[in-house]
Amino acid sequence: MEMVNLYINGKEVAAPTGSTIMQAADLAGIEIPRLCYDPDLSALGACRLCVVEVKGNRLLPASCVTPVMSGMEVFTESPAVIEARRTILELLVANHPLDCMTCDKLGACKLADYCYHYGVKESPFAGGEKHQYKCDDSNPFIIRDLNKCILCGACVRACEEMTGQDNLSYLYRGFHRKATTAGDVDYAQSDCVFCGQCVALCPTGALTEKTMAGQGRRWEIERVRTTCPFCGTGCNFDLAVKDGKVIGVLSNPDSPVNGRSLCVKGRFGWDFIYNEKRLTTPLIKKNGQFEAASWDEAFDLIAQKFNAIKDEYGPDSFAALSSARCTNEENYLVQKFTRAYMGTNNVDHCART
């Protein structure tokens, strides 16, 4: 790979040709703040929080979209850069509800994190017009409070580029610009498929998981990585667990199959865990009625019946059909059991056809 040498904060660093300044800084372990940049989305260059100073450039270019050049001298925390970032944060905060004390996103809110970092407590621009949008509470999965939207466009891009649903775009211009659905209708009335990618990528409290509302702050949540049980795709995600109880599902970017993408079932369809009607023990039919049994009793019964069938009618009287909702390991075990123990190749899988 061809490399380019440049200087960031006086330190010589190397980055592959065609990298952005931000990528070069990331490689060198130099942190640059970012709101609209997301590695899974196309570049937008719009929040301008990642601006840096480049020697010889009268502007402060956005590091997320500015390519590196040989010998370039970049300053990521110069006084002009810090002043620009502070001012941009003050502008965003002037049009943002400061209800962080009750906001579910605190702890995972980039706006709050950067305000903390740059010491933006109050905005000198406050006191003017602020958005007064109605909160979209139209559906069981997502709370959409556009008063907290900073227009980074992550939701719009995620909907188009990750899900392919293209349900979101921008409405109006300037201060009235709004990232919303066609016709500005609530999610429930739109073409939303409730995959929740927009929620997963939103850097502020504008889009949050409804099930998690008021259930726990981000730093109280334990993340337990698991595989989705719904289908055979094998998506991974983190269960958000608080006090031993699942309160939601959060994307995990390290998931090899799906990255941060999930469908409505994986992200929001986990409430069956605590359904009262859920079976919690095996049931054995006795005298026409199902009765609760232990696993030992159940396995003994299965073994006895399987052996009886095999002895009486032969191995090929048996067939196993497994499910895409089982894991690869479980499916492997089904065919292994069928072939090695039952002695037949009558094994099939619902995903085969």
């Binding site: 719009a46 402060l60 965003l92 049009n95 211009r173 610009r177």
Partner: protein, 406 residues
């Protein structure tokens, strides 16, 4: 006294703009013929040597720009004429298109040959529907005469957004998207319309091309200022005796512009300020009137030549009130894509409005200064970067007018 020099407007009043024969009889399309007899490289070099710099406001060397597209390898390239003349007080492109539309088409066709493009678009301001008719008639006549050869030109109409005069927003608009700027690089000459190399030049820039080919690069380079040669079409508005247009060589001073050509301030009033280049231009006080109008001289005093609009204000004008109206304009015209422009133009207007209403304080002036400086450096496109200029320059040159209202 300096004299007007009509190069762009050489056919003004002399030909019927709706009759291509008049243009042909005046030597029209001979330059295109000449261009096509040259190699593309030689043609681009000729344009570069003339020193012609973009007349839309950014002042980039036209030949160098063309060379970027010429050098880019692509199966399709485009030529776009930026006729989205949205700067308040500016009507020079309209004058050219109304009076000599064929000169623009010829300039575009020459560019098309130079870079290897067979498709041109004219993006015309939505408020100029009658100009669109003139252009379509002109294109039709040029096609019938066969003078354009295989170069095709279509007119696209804007819908009233000021930001669509910014070349990448203009390209987005032609593509059918929201009129919003793209980040640069990549620049349009390399990746432009539908991802292909695209030259976007202003109407006035294209109108200069045929005459440069006709009379030669050296002739053109010898007119006006060395670093920004040629003539500039200026439109005089506001408190000035002759509210009209003039075409002048670029080595005259602002004072000559206002007093020699414009006849000075009406009713014997005193001059207070002039804003040049459009509504994002800096305000220029009396003490700087001896500055030359060329691009670099204007940039050196924190002003612009821009579109060539000249907005003169006499002693009775309230600078803060005028600035307040300008900040309202930018609040309205921000597309909202980048945060410093979207939120910044809004707050800038709120703060200036507060001061204008006598409710401001000294800290507001400092805040305006900081906000303006940040916007001018950190905004995504030229709109947001230039929007604070009237505020910053009036704070610099007319601070007492602000202080008097605190």
């Amino acid at each position: 006294m300096a004299e007007e020099m009509r190069i762009l407007m050489r056919n003004y009043g002399k030909i019927d703009p709706l009759n291509i024969d008049d243009y042909l009889n005046a030597g029209g399309y001979k330059s295109l013929e000449k261009a096509r007899s040259m190699s593309q490289k030689d043609l681009i070099e000729e344009v570069r040597k003339s020193g012609l710099r973009g007349r839309g406001g950014a002042g980039f060397n036209t030949g160098m720009k063309w060379n970027f597209s010429y050098s880019a390898v692509a199966d399709q390239k485009y030529v776009i004429c930026n006729a989205d003349e949205g700067e308040p007080g500016t009507y020079k492109d309209r004058l050219i298109m109304e009076n000599d539309p064929q000169s623009v088409l010829e300039g575009m066709a020459i560019c098309g040959y130079a870079i290897g493009s067979n498709q041109g678009y004219i993006y015309c301001r939505g408020e100029y529907p009658y100009v669109v008719e003139i252009l379509n008639t002109a294109i039709q006549q040029a096609k019938e005469k066969g003078v354009l050869g295989d170069f095709n030109i279509e007119v696209r109409m804007g819908a009233g957004a000021y930001v669509c005069g910014e070349e990448s927003a203009l390209i987005e608009s032609i593509e059918g998207h929201r009129g919003e700027p793209r980040f640069k690089p990549p620049f349009p000459p390399v990746i432009g319309l539908w991802g292909k190399p695209t030259i976007v030049n202003n109407v006035e820039t294209f109108a200069n091309i045929p005459v440069i080919l006709e009379k030669g690069a050296d002739w053109y380079a010898g007119i006006g200022s060395k670093s920004y040669p040629g003539t500039k079409l200026m439109t005089l508005t506001g408190d000035i005796v002759k509210r009209t247009f003039i075409e002048v060589p670029t080595d005259i001073t602002i004072r000559q512009l206002i007093y020699d050509f414009g006849g000075g301030i009406p009713e014997g009033k005193k001059f207070k300020a002039v804003q040049i280049g459009g509504t994002s231009g800096g305000f220029i006080p009396e003490t700087l009137l001896d500055t030359l109008i060329d691009f670099d001289s204007m940039a050196a005093i924190g002003a612009t030549l821009g579109s060539g609009a000249v907005f003169v204000m006499d002693e009775t004008r309230d600078i803060v009130d005028v600035t307040n109206r300008i900040t309202k304009f930018f609040e309205h015209e921000s597309c909202g894509k980048c945060s410093p422009c979207r939120e910044g133009t809004k707050r800038m207007h709120e703060i200036v409005d507060k001061i204008n209403n006598g409710l401001g304080s000294a800290t507001d002036l400092d805040l305006l200064g900081r906000l303006g400086t940040v916007m001018s450096k950190a905004c995504l496109c030229g709109l947001g970067q230039a929007a604070p200029s009237p505020v910053l320059t009036t704070l610099q040159h007319f601070r007492s007018e602000y202080s008097n209202k605190l």
